[in-house]
């Protein structure tokens, strides 16, 4: 019994982290779906989202506002807006000018953008950890005498918000006019252009949607862990990228699935082996997928992009 509960605890923890990986992974997968390139500055957008969350919560806290849901809502709004602006700017500055040139050039441009954002944040906020206290502490406990499973309120919020975002995104992509254009562009952007569609706008929108979801992840994970520094974007970005590849890059359901799977895999490794192996799992997995099934779980076999 104890064994099962312990396992359950790891799965809950894994799904929590995995949800946020999934949110970030969607940004990678959508951008890849449309322009066929990895947005290497995406992890930095997540980092910025976390910073904005912390700044808003601290600032409003100093003004004496204490309602955690109001704080969270306000932080969410500002973080999403600011990150969207950064996402938009990243595309304009690092991708659009080099579109049509060699992939390596775009890659270097994006990595440059990533380094710039990281260091810009370091200058603006300092390179040391910034912390906030837990806004929504506590949770439920259930189990038997010798072992209790913890499900914190924050974890439930993470599941809930992630689920909400996924549903919103799925509906948008499958039902709305813009979502349809998005799908059309990711299949054949040239054809969309031949139908008069402003594909530049669709590409911008893709970066912005990805940034918004990364900001949501930044808020959730930031509130869960309570600390941020300018370097968190690198690791989170790599993890989410792994999740996107695992699920099948280009596929939105794939990114969701990949994120959850990776989160659980990490948590189980941490729970049964050692937390030091957690990151090794992600990158080991990445290498294995790239070797044996580069198209991922839900991706189409021939991932061929111009």
């Amino acid at each position: 019994m104890e064994e099962i509960l312990y396992f359950l605890q790891q799965v809950i923890n894994g799904l929590t982290i995995g949800s946020t990986y999934a949110l970030i992974a969607i940004g990678y997968t959508m951008v890849y779906g449309i322009i066929g390139m990895i947005n290497f500055a995406h992890g930095e957008i997540y980092m910025i989202g976390t910073y904005v969350t912390f700044i808003v919560i601290s600032a409003l806290g100093m003004l004496g506002i204490a309602n955690p849901f109001f704080l969270m809502g306000a932080a969410l709004l500002v973080a999403v807006l600011v990150s969207c602006a950064y996402g938009f700017a990243v595309e304009r500055v690092a991708y659009r000018p080099v579109r049509g040139s060699k992939r390596l050039i775009a890659l270097i441009s994006a990595i440059g953008m990533s380094i710039f954002l990281q260091n810009y944040m370091r200058l603006a906020q300092g390179s040391r950890d910034m912390a906030i206290s837990s806004l929504i502490p506590g949770g439920w406990e259930f189990g038997i005498e010798s072992f209790a499973v913890n499900l914190s309120y924050m974890q439930v919020i993470i599941f809930g918000v992630t689920l909400g975002c996924m549903l919103l995104l799925s509906t948008f992509i499958s039902r709305s006019r813009l979502g349809r254009a998005c799908r059309a562009c990711s299949q054949d952007a040239g054809m969309a252009r031949l139908l008069g569609i402003n594909t530049d706008m669709i590409i911008s929108m893709t970066f912005v949607i990805g940034a918004a979801l990364a900001a949501v992840a930044g808020l959730l994970l930031g509130m869960y862990y309570g600390v941020v520094n300018p370097y968190i974007g690198f690791l989170a970005g790599l993890k989410a990228f792994t999740a996107a590849v695992l699920g099948g890059i280009g596929s939105i359901p794939g990114a969701m699935l990949g994120g959850l799977l990776l989160g659980v895999a990490e948590a189980l490794t941490g729970g049964y082996l050692s937390t030091e192996y957690k990151d090794v799992v992600a990158f080991g997995l990445l290498i294995l997928i790239l070797l044996f099934r580069p198209s991922g779980i839900l991706g189409k076999p021939e991932v061929e992009k111009i």
């Binding site: 006019r177 349809r180 059309a184 299949q187 054809m191 031949l194 139908l195 008069g196």
Partner: protein
């Protein structure tokens, strides 16, 4: 008797009157297009009058697709000018050109295979209001009853003929005044080819001007008012459809004897 285009002036139409680029529905003036260092079009001039069906024939690799796509600005011509309804559109971004009253059915159809017939059609009238969009879809479905049966099916699951109908239907969604067609009969069964050509004639009767690129030269010239022959990226012959069908050189090279 056919004449080389150089002799009659670049924009001669078969009736004898010379169309100025501003007066034609579509006019190309000395158009040259490159892919990197490779020249695919060499100083092409031609015109399509309002209400005409004009056919462009040429061997594989002659540059037919390049010519058609250069009109849309994709690829961008290296030099020369493109006129549409009296306005110069050279260098205008593709998406803007395509919103201005012309549509293309590209080579290989390029329908959105993962999307339903309805969604594909809706993409063709992307900037319309919802009511306009629904009316256009209804119009297309009347033209292609087959698409009505397949309305909720994914484009990729349909036969080649149905996909071609979808590609044409999608192009018609924006109610174009000029329709560009790139080898619509390619890879289709003879019966389906007949249907496609019937539709093209029907469209012209309804007032749409047609510029048709074909390797199926016989059918294409039969329905054409006028035709051009493209060789190695250059227009070598221009005449009425009938005259081209009777031309010995054309018969030998494109009609199999």
């Amino acid at each position: 008797m056919t004449e080389h285009v150089e002799d009659v002036g670049i924009l001669a139409s078969c009736a004898g009157e010379v169309l100025a680029p501003q007066d034609a529905m579509l006019a190309l003036e000395n158009l040259t297009t490159h892919y990197g260092p490779v020249q695919a079009l060499n100083d092409v001039s031609l015109a399509v009058g309002k209400g005409e069906i004009v056919t462009l024939i040429g061997a594989n690799g002659a540059g037919k697709t390049t010519l058609l796509m250069s009109i849309c600005g994709d690829p961008r011509p290296t030099s020369g000018r493109v006129w549409f309804e009296g306005e110069e559109i050279t260098g205008t971004p593709t998406a803007r050109v395509m919103r201005g009253g012309l549509s293309v059915v590209p080579e290989g159809r390029r329908i959105f295979t993962g999307m339903t017939v309805e969604e594909n059609l809706a993409m063709g009238g992307y900037y319309q209001t919802r009511e306009e969009n629904e009316r256009s879809i209804e119009h297309v479905l009347d033209l292609f009853p087959r698409l009505r049966e397949r309305f909720n099916q994914r484009g990729g699951t349909m036969s080649g003929g149905e996909q071609q109908m979808l590609a044409i239907g999608r192009a018609l969604m924006s109610r174009p005044r000029l329709l560009l067609l790139d080898e619509p009969s390619l890879g289709l069964a003879p019966i389906v080819i007949g249907q496609i050509f019937d539709i093209v004639e029907q469209l012209r009767e309804q007032g749409t001007t047609i510029f048709l690129v074909e390797q199926n030269a016989h059918r294409a010239l039969s329905i054409a008012d006028r035709g051009y022959v493209l060789e190695h990226g250059h227009v070598v012959l221009a005449d009425s459809g009938k005259a081209l069908l009777a031309n010995d050189d054309v018969r030998r090279a494109y009609l199999g004897g």
